[in-house]
């Protein structure tokens, strides 16, 4: 007779499946850092030797540095603007009864389900007919359109879960709405808002589709990488670059997701 191990006993097969799944998910990504330290120019086994030359080489490339700073500038702007616009929107959706709210929200979330290609070419077509020259500004606009839905979906659960009576108490004690936001809503929700900023920064920094279609003479970092892919002897340098970007993005997103959890416990402190 089989031993009864409990209602939701750990399922060995499933656990192994999960481990394999995670392994396969991360495997291709892990090869990038591995080969970035490889002294051989071609990416294949066996590994030839350990070297840091590809990393050092990165610092000597002017176009790379320019592209990097362009990406940073755009990402910072996008992050700030998206968050500033998304916060009141998410507050409104969480708090107020509005006629037609559901369709309006679904509409704003549309870019999440439209392929980046469509958004990119559509915006390009419009901007072109309007006679707008392409530049980093147009890329910024394109990125904001993509980031805003993400920003709202990160902020919305936090605001929905946020105890409204805290804001009501503040108003009751005499504070007008803006001061209530500054003194209560913001301090209590700063992890979520910070997470939103980090997430939108990362999305913009890594974004390729819109950047490709909407950029002018100056390029962003992903575009630079795409351009460099044509030169096989530069592969290892690209690997080194990719590793750095991976680490950077990982760190940002990890922090952002951990912040989302931290916010959880701080809020429930008032309700016993």
């Amino acid at each position: 007779m089989a031993r009864y191990t409990g209602f939701h006993a750990p399922n060995r097969t499933l656990a192994i499946y999960a481990a394999v799944f995670a392994f396969v998910l991360y495997l291709p990504i892990l090869f990038i850092p591995i080969f970035s330290f490889n002294s051989g120019v071609y990416v294949k086994f066996p590994l030839e030797g350990f070297t840091l030359q590809w990393y050092v080489d990165l610092f000597n490339r002017e176009p790379l540095k320019a592209a990097f700073w362009n990406s940073v500038k755009i990402a910072a702007t996008v992050s700030l603007l998206s968050t500033v616009i998304a916060v009141p929107a998410a507050l409104a959706i969480a708090r107020y009864r509005m006629p037609g709210k559901a369709p309006a929200v679904s509409f704003m979330m549309l870019p999440l389900v439209l392929p980046g290609l469509i958004m990119g070419v559509a915006l390009l077509g419009l901007l072109n007919r309007l006679g707008v020259t392409l530049s980093l500004v147009t890329v910024t606009i394109g990125h904001m359109v993509i980031c805003l839905p993400y920003a709202i979906s990160v902020l919305l659960p936090r605001f929905v879960g946020f105890n409204r009576s805290l804001e009501e108490a503040s108003a009751d004690l005499g504070e007008p709405p803006l001061r209530t936001f500054w003194r209560v809503t913001l301090p209590c929700n700063y992890p979520g808002i910070l997470a939103c900023m980090l997430m939108t920064f990362t999305i913009s920094f890594d974004e390729y589709f819109m950047a490709f279609f909407l950029s002018g003479p100056k390029s962003t970092l992903p575009m630079y990488i795409w351009g460099q892919l044509r030169f096989p002897q530069d592969f290892p340098s690209l690997l080194a670059l990719s590793t750095l970007i991976l680490l950077f993005s990982f760190a940002l997103i990890f922090t952002s997701l951990r912040l989302s959890k931290v916010g959880q416990t701080a809020q429930t402190g008032a309700q016993k």
Binding site: S170, G174, E175, P177, G269, A270, Q271, K272
Partner: protein, 355 residues
């Protein structure tokens, strides 16, 4: 002091508050009593300003307030879940509303200290809000509201989350506080004992409308209809039909026999309800002239008192009769099945329309 005139509130097609009008006097402890969904909390929130009225006016001290957002209204509220700011300590919580009044820091600290003494939490200023118990948070919420010296304080079921002992203690403290300060309190509760204990007057609400506004004694002894009568304390209802032969009027009741009544037959319809409180009955072990015969069906022992359920002819459910119980010589111990006789004073009967 506070006038609520024909206030209605609807959410879409749902009417939460229907044409409510109230006059609340300065310095009184006024309660809104009702079950959940009766509209009492919605009404309170409209007075506070968190919900806008669909129609009607709310006047405070003669000035129209229904269009003002809450931060402009001169009243303060204690919330059901206390709403203590988690990111501020006790001192900063209490002093929250003082900031915009431009009061000097030193003066603020002094006022907070005074408040802490008043709510019996001296020295708690630097405590974090997460370190407070439920009862302590409630007192901090009170202090936070009262430090602004409002003339009206709203309380939204403030004692609901506390256990029985603490609740009763807090009830006494609240009542004492209100009388000392002379502030108008408006309390919302579903607990009728709480409403009766604390209030000068109570408005009983159901389905968004106010059914009766009266003093606690008035509600208990002169309920306006069956709903109020049944809601406030326990009540025995006897169905009766009116019969008039000539000048005398009597009611044939189900269970209590035929009762002569002094009333205007035109005021009541053919059928009505006779309501008598359990403690108005006197129960006798031996036959009494004019009494109604019955048999004890069950006994409910409650410590200092007991409730005897007496079956009478003509009535399906037994009549609840309150009797004292004491340690020495309890005549009713083991009395199930015993025949008894009931009497009651004529003025203990309340006549109600059937619903």
């Amino acid at each position: 002091m506070i006038s609520v005139r024909n206030v209605c509130k609807s959410f879409g097609r749902v009417q939460a508050v229907q044409d409510v009008s109230l006059e609340i006097q300065a310095g009184e402890f006024f309660s809104l009593l009702g079950a959940s969904g009766s509209g009492k909390t919605t009404l309170l929130r409209m007075i506070a300003g968190f919900e806008a009225v669909t129609s009607g006016q709310i006047l405070i001290d003669g000035q129209e307030m229904q269009d003002l957002p809450p931060h402009l209204r001169p009243i303060n509220m204690v919330f059901q879940n206390y709403a203590i700011f988690p990111h501020l300590n006790v001192q900063d919580n209490i002093a929250y509303g003082l900031q915009r009044l431009g009061i000097a820091k030193a003066e603020q600290t002094r006022m907070v200290g005074e408040m802490l003494e008043m709510i019996a939490l001296p020295g708690y200023g630097t405590r974090k809000s997460s370190q407070l118990s439920g009862g302590q948070m409630q007192r901090v919420a009170l202090a936070r509201a009262l430090i602004l010296k409002p003339k009206v304080l709203l309380l939204d079921e403030p004692l609901g989350a506390l256990d029985k002992q603490l609740r009763e203690q807090m009830q006494l403290e609240l009542r004492g506080l209100q009388q000392r300060l002379g502030i108008t309190f408006i309390l919302v509760t579903h607990d009728q004992e709480e409403a009766l204990t604390l209030s000068d007057r109570v408005a009983v609400m159901a389905n968004g409308a106010v059914i009766q506004v009266d003093t606690p004694a008035g509600l208990y002894n002169r309920p306006a209809n069956r709903q109020v009568a049944g809601f406030v304390g326990t009540m025995n209802f006897f169905e009766a039909s009116l019969q008039s032969d000539g000048p005398s009027v009597s009611a044939a009741t189900a269970g209590l026999g035929r009762l002569p009544l002094k009333l205007d037959p035109k005021r009541y319809g053919k059928s009505m309800l006779v309501a008598i409180r359990p403690e108005d009955f006197t129960i006798h072990a031996s036959p009494v002239k004019g009494g109604v015969a019955g048999r004890i069906a069950a006994r409910q022992y409650l410590g200092g008192r007991q409730v005897l359920y007496v079956e009478v002819e003509g009535r399906a459910s037994p009549v609840a009769v309150a009797a004292p119980a004491n340690r020495t010589g309890d005549p009713w111990a083991g009395a199930e099945g015993q025949p008894v006789w009931l009497t009651w004073p004529a003025d203990a009967m309340t006549l109600l329309d059937p619903d």
